[in-house]
Amino acid sequence: DANLLNDRVLQTMLKAEDNYLPSANYFKCVQKDIVPYMRRIVATWMLEVCEEQKCEEEVFPLAMNYLDRFLSVEPTKKSRLQLLGATCMFLASKMKETIPLTAEKLCIYTDNSIRPSELLQMELLTLNKLKWDLASVTPHDFIEHFLSKLPIHQETKQILRKHAQTFVALCATDVKFIASPPSMVAAGSVAAAVQGLHLKSTDSILSSQNLTDFLSQVIKSDPDCLRACQEQIESLLESSLRQAQQQ
């Protein structure tokens, strides 16, 4: 929709994205029972559920945003972390799916360690803690804007979108990116995808240096900051691929 892929929409999102950022250090300042490795375990489980249920691409990163924002304000027992994860998927799928995930299905995915009634109460508690403000800006909202600015063919765009979306999901599982602005994660993911696909084009905008400079201008960030984010994404990709091979 040409009315939506324009710079006014992009600027508005850049303004709004900060409203939805979790706090970077809730493990130290808010949580006593939950430590970083537990977030990775629950995030991996949530990603598996979203993939198996063929959810819209945005559901998983949105659910992780809710989880991090909740943990930023509410001390939570580790035995309830999976209930919180299920609740965040429940809410994210209601925001983004025409047919949301059901409470019963989510309880089954927890091996019935939680009950539908607990999920419904946790839904209300989470809504209140997030002030019902669930229309978070996600990295996916930016990817389309960046792709529309790159001189590439439509089918290349499709491959690039798929890779960038995979990197966005990967970032959502890693604590290093908890407080990274979605625009930064999206720009880093697109740059890493262009790099990874060794995309070349007639003009030099797709060269690594130029692309990072270009995207950092678009999101109004420091180029070195964006480059560091891209490198973090690439090393996260390598380590997760290595893990996958070991498994």
């Binding site: 027992k77 580790k78 035995s79 946790m122």
Partner: protein
């Protein structure tokens, strides 16, 4: 993933937290949302 939650304790605590939240809102608006009626006196002068 991190141990079974204690269902009775969980149910009780969730109900408690939700009640506290709703009470705070009733105070703020001097309105009993559950019973759907004004709670005078307060910051708002309600009328049907």
């Amino acid at each position: 993933l991190f141990g079974m939650p204690n269902h009775e304790e969980l149910q009780r605590e969730l109900s408690e937290r939700l009640r506290e939240i709703e009470e705070a809102k009733s105070d703020k608006w001097n309105f009993d949302f559950a019973a759907h009626r004004p709670l005078p006196p307060g910051r708002y002068k309600w009328e049907p």
